[in-house]
């Protein structure tokens, strides 16, 4: 997969992990996978079909036609609670930033999918377990407000352990903030699709995760409100293997579709076609500078 201009620019500072090594081990079946094949297969294990968690920028890159104009990258976390347990919160942020090559747990911006212009948000579990703090809340809210202004469909890929503890109630309030933005976005007839990826739980699941017009999930993704361990501690027994999987949720009627990652983009394009019609534009080359409020 060629590295487009927008991503190359980004990688000057944030080199994504996939440049790092030639081989990667499947975390499920332990098969050693040749990195280039794995990338071509969208990080799906060619042996067991396991969907390896994707880096947010890689996800964006596999979705958009060409250019991607990121917004909100300059919104960075503070330390509102002055949190320090083993390590001060700012140190944890710094470490995650280095580890994940991301400035926060969500990437937001604009691009086109097979010609359909969309507002796109992609969460990344590598940054603080994809938890939602003030920055995730703010970036998602900006994306929805900006998407609403432009009357664009919005697609958000979730991956989250819930609200971020180190930002306390300010983090929890992002559930309210994003939901308010989502309400306004949807009230004007704009399409919102949530794609739940592994894992999606807690405050993200219970706000913009499940308040979508259409809810898609990646195969075998773990999705729920309470975490598996919390439930097991509560009921004091082991949960069945398939509990809280995407497939389980499909059967229970919670989500519209479960898709293999390799079927995801074509499905999104079809859904965009159904819901907003063929209002395609040429692949986005440049997006005028955003007026973020």
């Amino acid at each position: 997969m060629p590295v487009p201009e927008w991503l190359r620019k980004r990688r000057e500072k944030d080199v994504t992990a996939d440049d790092a090594s030639l081989w990667q081990k499947c975390p499920r079946c332990s098969e050693m996978l040749y990195r280039k094949d794995l990338v071509a297969n969208l990080w799906v294990c060619s042996r067991c079909g396991h969907h390896i968690r994707m880096h947010a920028y890689d996800r964006v890159n596999t979705l958009v036609d060409g250019d991607f104009v990121e917004i909100g990258a300059d919104i960075l976390p503070g330390d509102p609670l002055g949190w320090a347990d083993k390590r001060p919160y700012p140190q944890k942020l710094k470490r995650d930033r280095e580890k994940s090559k991301l400035s926060e747990a969500v990437v937001t911006g604009f691009g086109t999918l097979d010609g359909f212009p969309v507002a796109l948000g992609v969460m990344d579990f590598n940054f603080r377990g994809g938890t939602m703090g003030t920055v995730v809340g703010e970036r998602i809210t900006n994306l929805l407000e900006e998407g609403r202004r432009r009357r664009l469909p919005c697609i958000i890929f979730t991956a989250s352990g819930g609200a971020r503890m180190e930002e306390g109630m300010l983090a929890l309030m992002q559930m309210a903030k994003t939901t308010l933005a989502l309400q306004r976005f949807k009230a004007e007839g704009n399409l919102y699709i949530a794609v739940l990826t592994d894992p999606t739980t807690g405050g993200v699941s219970a706000s913009f995760g499940f308040a979508a017009d259409l809810i898609l999930a990646e195969a075998r993704a773990a999705i729920g409100f309470a975490g598996r361990r919390v439930i097991e501690q509560t009921i004091r027994q082991k949960l069945p293997e398939n509990f809280q999987t995407a497939e389980f949720l499909l059967e229970k009627g919670h989500i519209d579709m479960v898709l293999d990652r390799r079927e995801l983009r074509p499905a999104l394009v079809r859904l965009l076609d159904y819901a907003v019609g063929r209002q395609r534009v040429a692949p986005l080359k440049a997006v005028p500078e955003l007026a973020v409020p």
């Binding site: 347990d85 309030m173 308010l180």
Partner: protein
């Protein structure tokens, strides 16, 4: 073990003894000295409370629970059910008269004893409870009734059944409804405000918090378990989480604190409950004057600015500049 209950033991003995003396007709200097001693003890025990102590206050077995507030209203007519699956006894809702005003009330209901707590699932709401709440909120909006919620839950029910019936969707649904209803919404955090399960009925135009209530992104036990693999370090986690009324007033997350009597709301609950109702009444009076569009706009902006980023350049979002 509730640290407040433990602490109360000596005090309760002393208070009982004073009562006995008074009955026997004791008065004068001896009595005064004793009473001063008790008063000093109360101040000593409860004058300043740590976060963890407030957690224990919020969980105190004698603390007023939702039904105590409902009983203090002029009238309450309970409405049941999500129309689809079950009536959840952990979420009580219905029409009420609050100081002569027609309102829709929603509350998380703990029990006073074990039997009632089992029936009420310890105030932990299931999806059908949140769906009942959504339904009643929409009903309130349809008939132009303000919504008043009493929040007191350790969190949304984390059981298998709740996951099977889409707890996330139910909570998200409640939140979506509260962002939409064009009637005043006033929430009172009266006991435990446990995470998303509490927020689901507390996204409001005006939030009143009882002085010793707590409102937290995660339970102190859960937080300690995640951070240090040791739930016993909950007291420490409680300090970190900034879950007290004072903290949250400072963050702009709650709008008003309802002061409690020394030693906690349960030590003189009737006037305290009236104080909470006073606050609700004031807020409703103020909000009733706003046109619907302005009400919704104000609600939007209220939450929009929490942890929001303003200006240009790499400004820190959580900084609350």
């Amino acid at each position: 073990m509730n640290v407040i209950v433990e602490r109360e033991k000596g005090l309760t003995e002393l208070e009982a003894r004073i009562g006995q003396l008074r009955e026997r007709g004791t008065s004068g200097g001896e009595m005064l000295a004793l009473e001063q001693k008790v008063e000093a003890l109360r101040r000593d025990l409860f004058g300043t409370l740590s976060a963890w102590e407030r957690v224990n206050m919020a969980r105190h077995p004698k603390r007023p629970i939702a039904s105590d507030y409902l009983a203090a209203l002029d009238a309450f007519d309970e409405l049941h059910g999500d129309r689809h699956f079950r009536d959840d006894p952990a979420l009580v809702g219905g029409f009420a008269k609050l100081r002569g005003r027609n309102v829709m009330v929603l509350s998380q209901q703990k029990g006073r004893d074990t039997k009632e707590n089992i029936r009420r699932n310890f105030g932990m709401v299931s999806p059908e409870g949140y769906r009942k709440a959504s339904r009643l909120m929409d009903l309130a909006a349809r008939f132009h009734l303000p919504i008043v919620s009493f929040v007191d839950t350790s969190g949304a029910d984390p059981g298998i059944g709740s996951e099977e019936r889409a707890q996330s969707e139910a909570i998200a649904g409640c939140l979506m409804t509260l962002t939409r209803v064009a009637v005043p919404v006033v929430a009172a955090i009266v006991g435990e405000g446990g995470s998303g399960g509490a927020l689901a009925i507390a996204l409001a135009d005006h939030v009143i918090m009882a002085e010793n209530a707590v409102y937290s992104v995660a339970s102190p036990e859960g937080c300690a378990a995640i951070l240090w693999g040791d739930a016993a370090r909950a007291p420490e986690a409680a300090e970190h989480l900034k879950l007290t009324s004072n903290d949250l007033l400072g963050f702009g997350i709650v709008d008003e604190i309802a002061p409690e009597p020394l030693g906690g709301a349960h030590r003189d609950s009737a006037p305290f409950i009236q104080r909470v109702l006073d606050g609700i009444e004031r807020a409703l009076s103020r909000l009733a004057a706003l046109p619907a569009a302005e009400l919704l706009d104000t609600r939007y902006r209220k939450y929009r600015r929490i942890g929001s980023w303003r200006g240009k350049g790499p400004v820190r979002a959580g900084g609350l500049a």
